[in-house]
């Protein structure tokens, strides 16, 4: 679990560079809150808090949720998210190992449905808007009414709302687009990809789910690219480097508790997340869809497990020589 926390650092670093210290403040505030909630929940459940707090799982949950939250979110938004994640996503099911859904994504979806406005206010990236300092970040968190930041539609929003422009024109007309995808976002995704690759190298999780997800997302995008017409769903590279793609591929769907458990199962799980992610992005009501795609597939994980059992020793069909 500590390794997972370490591996988020490059992504957090790039987020902070492009969008300012808001994410860091979220993570610190959310982390403290999560620890306090975990401690109380363990006490209420009559478990030894000291022993269970050492597994770092609650910090992983809170950090992942806070990375996904918009920077400069008000305190009550972070609090509601952490409460949903830790209590509703985890402890009501019996704590670590027993939660059928990814707790961070439970928290995220509760917020996304309840507070769509706050959840879609993303700070404009460095170069397109002023980046707040630490003092302003704290104001945004603690006294949200007196904070006024510069928010801007994200590239995924722009693409979803595109009516009639060719993709090239859309890129040229919107300052948010960078070299491959959105300014800032492309580097955020590359940083999470790097962190994830390191975790695979360390053997923390296997490559199956992330690779399958990125493969099907790329495949769907290639099919829906429509050579960049006004109907285009965006290129594979755009989808890989936009929104929460890499973060989701390496830090969300790799959660072993709520995902499929065999390697074959992980391939199926990841592939289906990729397909759903694309479908919701281009045809759904939300610009990004990692959380929904993951939660829906969490439902399906036990079912996937039933049909992806590896062939046990001695159970291979015997080849017959006489045929």
């Amino acid at each position: 679990m500590q390794a997972v926390l370490l591996a988020t650092l490059p992504g957090i670093g790039v987020l902070t560079w492009f969008f300012g210290p808001g994410t860091l403040i979220n993570i610190l505030f959310g982390g403290l809150l999560a620890l306090a909630l975990e401690y109380s929940a363990l006490r209420l459940r009559d478990r030894n808090p000291k022993r269970y707090l050492q597994d770092y799982s609650v910090l992983v949950t809170s950090t992942l949720l806070c990375i996904a939250l918009p920077p400069y979110a008000p305190w009550w938004l972070v609090t509601a998210g952490i409460l949903s994640a830790v209590i509703l996503g985890k402890h009501v099911f019996g704590g670590l190992g027993y939660n059928p859904f990814n707790p961070a994504m439970v928290g995220y979806v509760v917020l996304l449905i309840s507070f769509p406005l706050q959840m879609s206010s993303w700070q404009a990236p460095r170069g397109l808007g002023e980046i707040p300092g630490v003092a302003e970040s704290l104001t945004a968190l603690l006294v949200p009414a007196s904070y006024d930041g510069v928010t801007m539609a994200t590239p995924l929003d722009i693409l979803r709302q595109n009516k009639g422009l060719l993709l090239d024109d859309l890129y040229n007309n919107s300052p948010q687009f960078g070299q491959w995808a959105g300014i800032g976002w492309e580097w955020v995704n590359i940083a999470f990809l790097a962190g994830g690759a390191w975790l695979i190298y360390r053997g923390i999780f296997t490559w199956h789910a992330p690779v399958a997800m990125l493969f099907t997302l790329g495949l769907c995008a290639a099919i829906g690219f429509d050579s960049g017409s006004s109907e285009s769903g965006g290129s594979p590279l755009f989808h890989w480097l936009s929104g929460a793609t890499m973060f989701g591929a390496f830090f969300i769907i790799t959660d072993p508790v709520s995902g499929a458990t065999s390697n074959r199962g992980r391939l199926v799980f990841g592939a289906l997340v990729g397909v759903l992610l694309y479908l919701i992005r281009v045809a759904g009501n939300y610009p990004d869809a990692v959380a929904f795609a993951v939660l829906i597939l969490n439902f399906a994980a036990p079912f996937i497990d039933q049909y992806t059992q590896p062939v046990t020793y001695g159970h291979k069909p015997i080849k017959r020589d006489d045929e």
Binding site: R51, D55, S57, G95, L96, G97, Y98, F205, T206, P256, V257, G259, T261, S262, N263, D305, Q309, P310, V311, T312, Y313, G314, H315, K316, I318
Partner: protein, 513 residues
């Protein structure tokens, strides 16, 4: 290097084999008394042929094989039988079992035994009977009666004998040592076994972490012709599992629920091969074996030639045991062995190692944490099972899912528990679940049987009722026939007439008064 095939999973724990200095055999000496369990093998316990007070010589028969799947037991030295009673034996259940205690007289006098002149001219049947009479049971750990295993050729066509000198379990070097000191004996034993099985190919399998044993075996195999080959392959636990070794050497998997013989293969342990050679060539019964005494709580670890029945406390004294350093005694190795409740238990035919680790060396496992389904266990499982799923189903006692996930194919090697980051003792769950399934199957057999009995009884009662009814009907028919033939003869009609007459006469008296 020969070709070999990769198996799924496996782990690389610290080997720790150097500790017991493989290649040198030390003498464990003669204890004051020996405790010989009557069940040191799989199958029925041997049946006693001595009684308390009897004086016996070394090599003398103490107990005979009881039925087909059983082996005889011989005295490992001379002395007096002083007790026949339940004693603690090396078994995970820690239950007592019937044992014979032999007070050694220290003279170590032996009966004379003689082998055959030339095994090459003996019939397989006579060779099997010699092995059977010597009380040999698989010395690798399972303890299946060797003679019974050798009869596999009657049922299936066999091609290959594998001598399993893999010894992949950490710490243990008993087979390694035997291969170094008596490679010729192993090869000759293997040839005898091959003759019995009527197989041509002999594969001597040695993991590549035993260069000295490998060299010795290669040298000995040179004399045995081109069909006797030494096979080596990279060290990995549990390559020495019978099924795993067969896949490594042949690329084939033993079908689930089947035996190696289904592939034309029989596996034997090097110790078993030497014991068979001794039985056939010298007529010597199995009364001792090499036991690895190891662990950092021993001052003189090593491989000791030990008489069967030697109490472990005697061995601990011989090997320089430091009780302040140790809290656990393990029968077998760190992966598949089990903790002993007491040092009073004896060495048996299947004891290859007694591990006496310090707490630092083999720490008591920390409390288990929650399973997060990380899947490391599935990566390590040599049987390609999903241990994480089996764990849930074992806890839920979900028999149907346990069977669907092939619990029965778990070889209990412990690789899953070893890699588990949450320190869950997975294998123990599987053992318990297997026991539960066994019991419920036995229960089902019992209930089926009582249902059958009940139904048979019902059917019988019904049959009897029908038969009685038929009899009654027959009698009635006969009586009616008779009545029809002559009314006076009908007893019922006569009785009715009598009653009527009586009533009438009574009525007359009444009216007259």
């Amino acid at each position: 290097m020969n070709t070999f095939f990769n198996i799924h999973g496996g782990i690389h724990p610290e080997e720790e084999k150097h500790l017991s200095n493989p290649g040198t055999v030390l003498d464990a000496g003669l204890p004051q008394s020996l405790v010989l369990p009557l069940s040191q093998h799989i199958g029925k316990p041997s049946s006693l042929c001595v009684k308390p007070g009897d004086y016996v010589l070394g090599g003398q028969l103490l107990a005979e094989a009881d039925g087909m799947v059983s082996v005889p037991l011989h005295a490992p030295t001379s002395g007096t039988v002083i007790a026949i009673e339940p004693r603690p034996v090396p078994h995970p259940s820690a239950l007592d079992n019937l044992c014979l205690e032999l007070a050694c007289d220290g003279e170590d006098r032996w009966i004379e035994y003689r082998g055959c002149e030339d095994w090459r001219t003996e019939t397989p049947e006579s060779l099997i009977s010699r092995i059977s009479a010597a009380g040999i049971a698989g010395m690798g750990g399972a303890g299946f009666p060797t003679a019974v295993k050798l009869m596999a050729r009657e049922r299936l066509p066999l091609t290959t004998l594998i001598i399993n000198g893999t010894e992949c379990e950490p710490y243990i070097t008993a087979d390694d040592t035997l291969m170094q000191v008596d490679a010729a004996g192993i090869v000759e034993g293997a040839q005898i076994l091959a003759r019995i099985l009527a197989v041509e190919d002999i594969l001597l399998a040695v993991e590549d972490n035993k260069p000295a044993a490998l060299a010795a075996m290669r040298k000995a195999a040179e004399t045995a012709g081109e069909h006797c080959k030494v096979m080596t392959f990279p060290t990995k636990y549990p390559s020495g599992g019978e099924k795993q070794l067969i896949e490594i050497l042949t690329g084939q998997q033993v079908p689930a629920g089947g035996l190696p013989a289904d592939l034309g293969i029989v596996c034997q342990n090097p110790g078993t091969a030497v014991a068979a050679r001794d039985a056939v060539c010298h007529g010597k019964p199995l009364t001792d074996r090499i036991v690895t005494l190891t662990g950092r709580a021993l001052m003189r670890p090593g491989n000791y030639r030990t008489r069967l029945g030697t109490p472990i406390e005697h061995l601990l004294t011989v090997a320089g045991f430091d009780p302040s350093q140790n809290r656990r005694l393990i029968h077998g190795g760190p992966m598949m062995g089990f903790a002993l409740e007491s040092a009073a238990v004896p060495i048996v035919k299947t004891t290859n190692c007694i591990l006496v680790p310090t707490e630092q060396e083999l720490p008591t496992p920390p409390d288990a944490q929650a399973c997060i389904r990380c899947g490391l266990c599935a990566e390590a499982c040599p049987a390609s099972l999903l241990p994480q799923q089996l764990y849930w189903y074992a806890r839920a006692k979900d028999q149907e899912q346990l069977e669907r996930h092939h619990l029965a194919d778990c070889i209990e090697c412990g690789a899953c528990s070893w890699v588990c980051p949450s320190h869950i003792p997975l294998v123990q769950y599987y053992r318990a679940a297997k026991g539960m399934i066994r019991e419920s199957k036995a229960e089902k057999v019992r209930s089926d049987r009582s249902r059958d009995r009940f139904e048979a009884r019902e059917a019988r009662l019904e049959q009897e009722a029908i038969a009685r009814e038929a009899q009654r009907a027959a009698r009635r028919a006969a009586a009616e026939k008779k009545a029809a033939a002559g009314g006076a003869d009908d007893p019922v009609a006569a009785a009715i007439a009598r009653a009527k007459a009586k009533k009438e006469s009574a009525g007359n008296e009444e009216s007259g008064s």
